[in-house]
Symmetry: C2
Subunit: 276 residues, 2 copies
């Protein structure tokens, strides 16, 4: 018997599509239905084999036993009330969004078997054409249960991510958002601002350093504006921390303070080494 | 006949060592002598085959017909007067440092056959153990001649880089330093500051975005403090440009100005696309 009989994926993009591929390859689902605001994306996902069928209406979730919400933050929050009405008892609902506090606080009230998840497996690329079945292998998946989260739903969610090859971390949604503000949303902010500050005509006179540092500035603006706005306070304070570090560097440079400059760079290099 | 009879490389690190390998592989030098402040580095370069012999003294340059200065900016400037005294007429001298104005203004006075060069082929890795013969293939090499640069020296330098597979750009040293302040020194500054601003305990809860954005923060602090200090004014103004862009982003976020945020991100994504 498969782990899930009927799976519905909302949002057949990079993550949703990759989950479809992975569920199929691992034999975890009997049938996968895909839903996308842009019909042609779901159709492409079907032709590529990430899903078995596309869905025209929300009613498809009525007999699902797993619903995966892989749309941008705000779309997930908007769809939740209509979704909640249609679910059968015991259906596991997970999301894969990059910020968790808003989604978890809304959805856990509406859907007891909702489990907030964030697989750290995205990239600047988007869409089903970049989906891959193995992006979760050896990735980190953060799960953010609340006190009201159904025990068996949480157990099933953990088992699912484990089967997809992810290393699971459990933490409160608020802590997730505080951490990711530093380790994901700040780097995106910095990359967008960095590429924005370079005069167009200078761009090509560069090498791998600029390319790597700004790779994630190729990310989708709708998705990322929603991530930034949904984690606004945390991101504002991580930006302030970064601004202080940058100002300290700038002042050491302005004052020709070589000792201080070397100390800043050495500490940064050492810290970067811990990242692997 | 080889293009060069005797080549002396000062600094057998990533770039110096890679040049040794490339000169040998392409059959451009009969004999390559390597010189390093740390004797064991030159010795390792010899054992790895990047050079034929190590040198104990500067006198080795007396019958050289190519001298490659591949040490940090300040070491190159410091060695120049003693070097100039020993060169035979017609010996081509090139450097490979990341900033050009200071080096070119000092060395071109002392050595008419000096040609300032900057192959955009470095990385955060350092040392002979990371040297590779093909790092110049399809890279950009910026050459910064002055009015007094010997014509045949310039011609030879261009021919050398072309043979190493580089695409050559000629420009004044001042323009080089203004451009690289944006496309290389600023990204390094940002990467060092970004990793510095992230709380240690959060580091591991991250994915490829943080890793890529901070890769060049693994760069050597002595080399980079010299690069930053030797291009101080240009870098200070590129940092200011970046700070303005970041402040604009932060203010749009603080004000929940979604439209403005999307506009900033979309412009950045589009610009990043031009980088390839």
């Amino acid at each position: 018997m498969k782990m899930f009989n009927k799976v519905v994926i909302f949002g057949t993009g990079l993550i949703g599509g990759s989950m479809g591929f992975a569920l199929k390859r691992k034999g975890l689902a009997r049938q996968i239905i895909g839903f996308s605001r842009q019909k042609k994306n779901a159709e492409l996902a079907r032709r590529m084999g990430a899903i078995d069928r596309t869905a025209a209406s929300l009613d498809q979730v009525q007999d699902a036993d797993l619903v995966i919400l892989a749309a941008p933050v705000e779309a997930i929050i908007n769809i939740a009330p209509e979704l909640a009405k249609r679910l059968k008892k015991g259906c596991l609902v997970i999301d894969v969004a990059s910020t968790k506090e808003k989604i978890v606080s809304r959805l856990n009230k509406l859907i007891p078997d909702f489990v907030g998840c964030h697989p750290l497996a995205g990239s600047e690329k988007k869409g089903i054409s970049n989906a891959q079945m193995d992006i979760f292998t050896d990735s980190i998946c953060i799960i953010t249960p609340v006190s009201g989260t159904g025990k068996s739903a949480l157990k099933k969610a953990r088992s699912l991510w484990k089967k997809l090859g992810a290393h699971i971390l459990l933490m409160p949604a608020a802590r997730h958002d505080r951490i990711l503000a530093f380790t994901s949303h700040l780097p995106h902010t910095v990359a967008f601002s960095l590429i924005g500050s370079i005069p167009d005509k200078f761009l090509k006179i560069s090498s791998g350093g600029l390319a790597d540092t700004t790779r994630i500035a190729g990310s989708d603006e709708i998705l990322w504006s929603q991530i930034f706005l949904s984690n606004r306070k945390n991101l504002l304070s991580s930006i302030s921390s970064f601004q202080k570090k940058l100002a300290a560097f700038k002042s050491a440079l302005a004052n020709k303070n070589r000792k201080r400059l070397i100390k800043i760079l050495a500490a940064a290099r050492k810290k970067r080494g811990h990242l692997g």
